[in-house]
């Protein structure tokens, strides 16, 4: 049972990382266009933009 001391925090940390990831992606507008995102994944040639992290605070929202 001592293993709990190790496993429980580990499980919670993993969960928290998942939550952080979700909140991060939400903040970055990843859920703004679910329909387009689906198509982008199978598009043959995504137009290439350098340094293309969409600047926060912009984007169609």
């Amino acid at each position: 049972m001592e293993v709990l001391v190790f496993l429980v925090p580990l499980a919670l940390t993993l969960g928290a990382i998942g939550l952080m990831g979700f909140l991060w992606s939400l903040k970055n507008g990843q859920y703004d266009d679910l329909e387009g995102a689906g198509w982008r994944a199978i598009a043959d040639d995504e137009p290439v933009f350098e340094e293309r992290a969409p600047s926060t605070g912009s984007g169609p929202r």
Binding site: A11, L12, L26, G36
Partner: protein, 730 residues
């Protein structure tokens, strides 16, 4: 006089030397369009971002400040084959987007917490029946509390806030019992944990929050999508004005940039976007969108012009006036305010259910507590059982029952071309037993159509159509449209107030007034037969033809009306147009009840009269004069071609040239209402099964979790049936 286009009103300046603009684009609906547009736009120099949003049908663009004129993007998109227009998100939309992302954040937190607490709860549940030592159980419970309390405090905000507001206003709503249930569940769980008890309800409280937030989010996202598409349509209707920036320099500006006292130019064939008075020029104007009257009226200096008015012949200079007291717009907006207030008393199905729900549940919990105390249990046990009653009855399924159906139905309606402005419109639409149509632009198509096309030889029609492309006049535009002409003729000259002329193979061709083409006699014959029509004459050498142009009924109007009548819904026409025109339409459609020449106030009066008789009215209209009646009716609908005002007032907006969406929407709404009722009964049935268990003290957290998720899933599955639509109507 070439106008410059000034879109600076829409450009946002980001801090980092970049400019940003949002464009609404028409016709983007596949992945191909998406990459075509993005590649096409990012090929322009200095563009740093071009991103299509396929859900909202919009493009976000960023470029280095000052290097490009935003009008360049519109031209580029036109080259690619898309019509675009600068877009300014309405405030309401921005607020809703903010709310939606907050709800999603809350949902994420609640779901994370619920899952982790569940992970800790399962060992407790299995340990309780085997070999778990109390210290371990307490440890797990404390850990659960550590996750649950902050998570509930954050993700419960939407409910707590709304409950608090309701209580402060001395009302109750669904959020009040939800908040009480959650707070009591958490408080009791903490108390139980302190006293080393076997059960704690942290998992139930958080799961409840997650399910309810999912329902809220569904509800919200439905409305948000509709609003986004409706916003695009409004932008694409290109509400611009041509403004004089100096005595002889003009610029095309968005309406939002026009101020009182500005002078705007209204060219022939243009629809006015402002209210004002003519200061220079002579013309005929078509006010059918405002008054319903289809015959054009003369306009000269001093004539008032309202937004929505179509200028037919000459160019007018209009001084913009504020919508002060006594103008038509002021009158209409006053009627509108009254009508909107009168309708806000409608109580939604969910609220009606919750009014019944809260007292019943709280009484049941109280009785449970007293009952247990009466048969000799300790107060502690009595209170714990009472709270478990509250937890298990908490309206998980009830919170999902209605939003889930609404979301599915709004998706189905969306595909048939109907947009919803408000969620409760579905319920109101389902109760409709009389449909009141406006005539002009609603039963008829907004654009004019050539009625004697079969009498005219095909080659003549084609040539006339190509010539008509050179003219802005709406009657000529109707000829061009009907002929399907695409290639305009070269070297066409416009004769002001008369028509257009040019040469083909050495022969002169003319299109315009009958006198201009020497075809007065043929024109008179046509006008004798059909006094409602407008005529335009065409002359090619010595051959002369006259096109009769008039408003045409929507192609499936007769079929749609017949379907409505067959299903027992009464139909009526209320139009501001003249009697013969309305009578003709009514006879063609087999509608016995109609009124002509009615003013906006008359329309409201008629609708109020019907209301007093207990009739639930669906008003379908498009004009500015319909807006108050739309707001007064039980539920209302507008075609996309409507003026801005009536579109904003309508509960539903339908797309396309056909009336079928109106009929289909009623069918969908009826089916949806049935499913909502079923869902409420399912939720009630679940309580009937679960509450006795809770009262008997058998509702352990395990039972609560199973019952709650089971009932929620059942409700969602039932809602999915709305997808298949309403067979009896389509």
């Amino acid at each position: 006089m070439q106008a410059t286009r000034d879109f600076s009103h829409y450009v946002r300046h980001l801090g980092s030397g970049l400019s940003h603009i949002d464009l609404a684009v028409e016709g983007v609906n596949c992945a191909g369009c998406m990459s075509k547009i993005e590649r096409g736009l990012s090929a322009l120099p200095d563009v740093t971002l071009a991103r299509v949003n396929l859900t909202d049908r919009r493009v976000a663009l960023e470029w280095k400040e000052g290097t490009l004129d935003p009008a360049r993007f519109i031209d580029r998109l036109a080259e690619l084959g898309y019509k675009a227009y600068p877009f300014e998100p309405v405030r309401a939309e921005a607020v809703e987007t903010e709310q939606a992302s907050f709800l999603l954040r809350c949902l994420g937190v609640a779901a994370f917490a619920a899952m982790n607490i569940m992970m800790l709860s399962i060992p407790v549940w299995s340990g309780n029946v085997s070999d778990m030592i109390p210290e371990q159980r307490d440890f797990f419970h404390w850990l659960s509390a550590l996750i649950a309390l902050p998570a509930a405090a954050y993700s419960g905000q939407p409910f707590f806030r709304s409950a608090w507001q309701a209580l402060r206003a001395r009302r109750t709503n669904m959020d009040v019992p939800i908040s009480i249930g959650i707070v009591l569940a958490l408080a009791m769980s903490v108390m139980e944990t302190i006293h080393h008890a076997e059960h704690a309800y942290f998992d139930a409280a958080l799961m409840l929050l997650a399910f309810l937030l999912a329902g809220r989010y569904l509800d919200q996202s439905m409305r948000r999508k509709t609003r986004a598409v409706a916003g695009n349509l409004a932008a694409l209707k290109a509400e611009t004005a041509t403004k004089f920036i100096s005595a002889d320099e003009i610029s095309v500006v968005p309406i939002a940039a026009v101020r009182t006292g500005d002078i705007v130019l209204l060219r022939p064939g243009e629809r006015s976007a402002v209210d004002g008075a003519v200061i220079e020029g002579q013309s005929k104007i078509d006010q059918s969108l405002i008054t319903g009257e289809t015959l054009p009226a003369k306009a000269g200096p001093g004539t008032p012009v309202y937004a929505g008015t179509l200028n037919l012949s000459g160019a007018l200079r209009v001084r913009v006036s504020a919508a002060s007291e006594g103008t038509l717009l002021a009158e209409i907006s006053r009627l509108l305010d009254n009508a909107v207030q009168a309708r806000s008393r409608y109580v939604q199905l969910a609220d009606r259910a919750s009014r019944l729900y809260a007292p019943v549940v709280h009484a049941a919990a109280l009785l449970t507590m007293l009952g247990w105390a009466a048969i000799g249990a300790t107060w502690h046990d009595a209170i714990v059982t009472a709270i478990s009653v509250l937890i298990i009855t908490c309206p998980c399924a009830l919170g999902l029952a209605i939003p889930a159906v609404q979301t599915v139905v709004s998706g189905a309606m969306f595909r048939t071309g109907v947009l919803l402005n408000s969620g409760d419109a579905i319920e109101r639409l389902a109760e409709v037993d009389r449909v009141v149509f406006d005539k002009t632009g609603t039963l008829t198509l907004p654009e004019l159509d050539v009625t004697n096309a079969i009498d005219i030889p095909k080659d003549v029609f084609e040539l006339a159509g190509r010539l008509a492309l050179a003219s802005h006049h709406p009657v000529a535009a109707a000829v061009a449209r009907a002929s399907g002409a695409r290639t305009p003729l070269a070297g066409i000259e416009e004769v002001a107030g008369q028509g257009v002329r040019g040469f083909v193979n050495g022969l002169e061709i003319r299109l315009g007034r009958p006198s201009f083409c020497g075809a007065d006699q043929i024109a008179n014959e046509i006008l004798c037969r059909d006094p409602e029509a407008s005529v335009v004459a065409f002359r090619h050498g010595e051959t002369r033809h006259v096109f009769a142009v008039r408003q045409r009924l929507r192609p499936d109007a007769a079929a749609a009306i017949a379907t409505l009548l067959k299903t027992g819904i009464e139909v009526e026409i209320l139009s501001g147009d003249r009697e013969p025109a309305v009578r003709h339409a009514a006879e063609q459609l087999g509608i016995h009840e109609w009124r002509a020449g009615v003013t906006p106030a008359d329309k409201i009066a008629r609708i109020e009269e019907l209301k007093r008789q207990g009739v639930k009215v669906l008003m379908v209209g498009d004009g500015m004069n319909d807006a108050p009646a739309l707001a007064a009716a039980h539920v209302s609908m507008s075609p996309v071609s409507a003026t801005h005002l009536s579109q904003a007032t309508a509960d539903l907006v339908f797309l396309g040239d056909r009336l079928a969406p109106v009929v289909a929407a009623i069918g969908f709404a009826r089916k949806a209402l049935r499913l909502m009722r079923q869902n409420l009964w399912l939720a009630a049935g679940y309580n009937l099964f679960a509450v006795p268990l809770a009262i008997a003290g058998l509702a352990t957290p395990l039972v609560a979790a199973a019952a709650m998720s089971g009932s929620s899933l059942l409700v969602i599955l039932n809602a999915l049936r709305a997808h298949r639509g309403a067979r009896e109507f389509c």
